[in-house]
Point group: D2
Chain length 352, copies 4
Amino acid sequence: MRVAVVGASGYVGGELLRLLLQHPGVELTAATSKGHAGEYLFRVHPNLRGVSEMKFASYNLAKLTNIADIVFTALPHGESVKLIPSLTKAGLRIVDMSADFRLRDASNYKMWYGYDHPATDVLEKFVYAVPELNRDRIRLARFAASPGCMAITSILALAPLLEDRSFGVDSDHIVVDAKVGSSGSGGKASLSTHFSERYNVVRPYKPAGHRHSAEIEQVLAEVSGAPVKVSMSAHAVNMVRGILSTCHVFMDKVPEAVDLWKAYRRAYRGSYFVRLVRDKDGPFRLPDPKTVIGSNFCDIGFELEERTHRVVALGATDNLIKGAAGNAIQTMNLMCGLDEKEGLAYAPLHPV
Amino acid sequence: MRVAVVGASGYVGGELLRLLLQHPGVELTAATSKGHAGEYLFRVHPNLRGVSEMKFASYNLAKLTNIADIVFTALPHGESVKLIPSLTKAGLRIVDMSADFRLRDASNYKMWYGYDHPATDVLEKFVYAVPELNRDRIRLARFAASPGCMAITSILALAPLLEDRSFGVDSDHIVVDAKVGSSGSGGKASLSTHFSERYNVVRPYKPAGHRHSAEIEQVLAEVSGAPVKVSMSAHAVNMVRGILSTCHVFMDKVPEAVDLWKAYRRAYRGSYFVRLVRDKDGPFRLPDPKTVIGSNFCDIGFELEERTHRVVALGATDNLIKGAAGNAIQTMNLMCGLDEKEGLAYAPLHPV
Amino acid sequence: MRVAVVGASGYVGGELLRLLLQHPGVELTAATSKGHAGEYLFRVHPNLRGVSEMKFASYNLAKLTNIADIVFTALPHGESVKLIPSLTKAGLRIVDMSADFRLRDASNYKMWYGYDHPATDVLEKFVYAVPELNRDRIRLARFAASPGCMAITSILALAPLLEDRSFGVDSDHIVVDAKVGSSGSGGKASLSTHFSERYNVVRPYKPAGHRHSAEIEQVLAEVSGAPVKVSMSAHAVNMVRGILSTCHVFMDKVPEAVDLWKAYRRAYRGSYFVRLVRDKDGPFRLPDPKTVIGSNFCDIGFELEERTHRVVALGATDNLIKGAAGNAIQTMNLMCGLDEKEGLAYAPLHPV
Amino acid sequence: MRVAVVGASGYVGGELLRLLLQHPGVELTAATSKGHAGEYLFRVHPNLRGVSEMKFASYNLAKLTNIADIVFTALPHGESVKLIPSLTKAGLRIVDMSADFRLRDASNYKMWYGYDHPATDVLEKFVYAVPELNRDRIRLARFAASPGCMAITSILALAPLLEDRSFGVDSDHIVVDAKVGSSGSGGKASLSTHFSERYNVVRPYKPAGHRHSAEIEQVLAEVSGAPVKVSMSAHAVNMVRGILSTCHVFMDKVPEAVDLWKAYRRAYRGSYFVRLVRDKDGPFRLPDPKTVIGSNFCDIGFELEERTHRVVALGATDNLIKGAAGNAIQTMNLMCGLDEKEGLAYAPLHPV
């Protein structure tokens, strides 16, 4: 399969390149970048030195249609939406990494992203891709939007609780408290990402109004069949990769642990990339981003607190892999009839 | 004033020593340790090399009463309670760092700490010391319990919201999501604190049932005049010092920012060690432990989310200072008629 | 090929398991551990959860000879030497990770490791495996000793300078100043690896007398044809994986950069896992362990200082991969007639 | 004493402000900044929130002479030299933090800094201030240049070895291998200081030609009475504060440890801020920047290697304190007749 990455100079683009170059079913035919056209990939992504001699290309639609069957678009929000309609018309399959095609209700773009969606007809054709939840729809899709990194991590932790109505989740008081590494905010230098200012922080950079709330609410409403409100806060912590999403969920009556366990098992049976983690001892008895780094795994676990009628559901991912490039390639695999795991079944690095 | 530290070999003990050695109104007369008696302080606390030639002493009550006016007890929970009754009888003033004298309702010790409190008559004489909330009672006290590090950080962030009944806080759904550095779990080596296993983690080490919940609930019930339930989760993050407590508080109607601001100002007017942080821009526009390290400050801020009826109240401290040794010395200052700030008014280090 | 790992519970053992489980030409048939026999691999190596359902086995020579063609021994120094003679007699191929079979001159064991080598006849049969330097000998070997992590990193940086006699290296004043992550000192918890004590250090843990000096001198003497003295100092720095070896080499007259460049190119032509790094700009214009993490690459570069007659040769590796497990598997590939790169050609992760 | 800081918005400026605001003998009368005039200090230095309500001022020579007795200039190299001649004429005492007045031989500026020194008459009046080495000259000086952070750390480690001619140091092969935290490179954001690119590095950013070589050679030549060549390499490591300077020194015959120990003791008797560190055990048996953070201490230690005729001398400082602001204030204290320790005798923070 011939694959191109449009907007390949950022961290998500770089991670797509790394994984695609190693994917046995993929031929990487182009990596475009406005600012770096003509440069070797490894000048921007130093890990690719010795791995590929490819150079960044300029974006050229005609050329792209000749050399690619499927395109990953890793552009900023607002940029993707300008480019993608022409790509769809050209007959290319697309996995978009931006938020521009994630929200089903076009009117939500005004509220969350500040613009009127200019291509609602195209928007309708996109599937929001969480393979563990909607594998079958993805298999039939030509266009997919890969979720936000904190969104997918939280969704996978929460969905089984909302799906089973018998748990009686209080859908007005779902708190998602996310902790994210620096790569989640991209590769652009600024004072707030300056090492001396960023090291050792626990920075509440978006305690309210985080855009990923919209995606999480959208999916949870679907799986539960009723509106859901998500109270999300995002924190930057002292690491490069990884997300832990701590989801505080209230219920009238906290279920038995065994019943929760069953619900999670049922939900993720057959989903290789979700690992359920709930051990009696050891340093990693619950999900922790440390043990997924370098892999496409999403670790899920939970803890109960009867006293406060609370389930704490936990999700951990490598934000650049299951939170971005890995999930997108998993989506591509499904769209193209490959095994979901192909080119993705790497064990995490430990320790790292 | 002649001061002794009992149990001075741990991190809290070491921080007490560091601050007391520099305190202009204090003469440090003894530092006891079971395991290190006879050794130089600086063999255990390498920062004190060149600062003090004192050695650890064995614990000896008779001697202590001769050389000290006030004693800090920095012993493990369950140990303090065995020692303190004899200290009180000997006429010494005490600031206890353990949890053994923090909970007013003795029956709570069974539930939270697994033992029947053996000295309820002594327990009654202790004041739970949050100088910013009960300065006057501390001034009159002979015995004080210094709060848990996450407790005081969360209490200072939450109290003004609960104190003002007009905010209509939903006291059943208060979520406290705390992120803590490694020094909070002490100086004892284990697999889970082994550097290779601990670096880069976001470890949900106590997602439910954290003991500091009890202290927070106790104080919030007092300030609000009604029972309060706190849903607390604690996470270990990749740093040594610092706590960020993210407190998710639901209300029927989210107030105007200006009214919240007024409530916080009113609550902490005259409290040097609480800084209100809510800027329009910059990397540190909200509380972040990074900017309090090395100081006794507790930074407090908040963000509003109307859509979810939520106030996110944020507290940040250096867990070993305002979260432990600093608050205890501030308490001592008040108990002994000194200026609250004496020996404590250090600016944080930045960057660090 | 059927492969077993003896002593698989440490970090090197874990990394061997991770790589071997993903190696297309390998069937992992056993992983032994004294302390963890009967436990799932993933209880000790949390990254392997979901990757393998294998359990640790007890060591059993008879069984091993039935199920394995080649064995990796990842035991402590002094333990390996007790076990290996019986393995060699049983006809198994061996790649040993310890130091017990690295030094050609048996008398050196007394000096560097404090014991008289008990199996000098076996020692003779081992090849010290640096594939980039002695690929052909490895192909013919049945028994190989994989170098120390700092040794191989320094050797690859230095060898081309010593090999070419025309450079006139001053072999009495070669300084190797190494900086290593925590995983290099293994998985056993102690006060000095306790996170709070280990974070942020630049700890000169072995400024003189480091045992890897012996290996480096051995190889450099071979390539240069004359005795070489190496003045080595090792430092623990604030990261988990990675080594930078800074090699200060004095010469009568510093050569032109282009001539050095040629020497390095010549030495490593055809060696996929050595990347020469010497760019004009960018954050990674010289070797840095950050850009090799997760890979078997050794990055090599240099800088010249005419004024002091000095070449600074730099080597960077992931200490657990090219510094240990990766190099060992590369060695196995050669010993078994596979492509050197098989199961090893992963791109590094970036950023991480 | 009335003190002003010119160029107070950088990290060295910020550290000067922090220390001067807490200095009992100092009244801080102005802090100037081109880019931030009119802003509160704490907008730039978030640690100073609540500590000072001062604002940055514009630079104004006339005003400065009215309100200050002594001025710290914390400007970039090349800027200081333009400003300082007018300050000296105005009768102000000066401690300069830049390199512009450090090198005694004006012709060296061309070689190391690329400019012809425009004020050699002023240069002559400056003393290069290492209080531990030239306390008496500083006491008489009106103008002082505070050394570079790596320079002073290395000088203090090396001077006693060079001072005592009987050690027979090989002055052609002195290797200084320095490891520095990020704050050493200042507060300006760039790709190479972007957190995701800077975290976890061991970056050889200046393996040859480091400018601090010139300062070290200048001082060592003075103390030894003969020319000295320093082969310096500087590395950026994964922390914000701290320097470890590893100095590899060759000698014909390595002395007894006890004789070295005596030399160091003799050199630094009476120097409160130098601590000699050489313990038998413990995690901090040799100098490590971790145990000096937050203090003006320079820890010094050494190790011997007879086999290679080498002494490894080690120096550790907090680069912003003893490596910059602290040493400058110590210098000011001496110039102004105060106790050298005044406002500086803080114990380091540990752990941090």
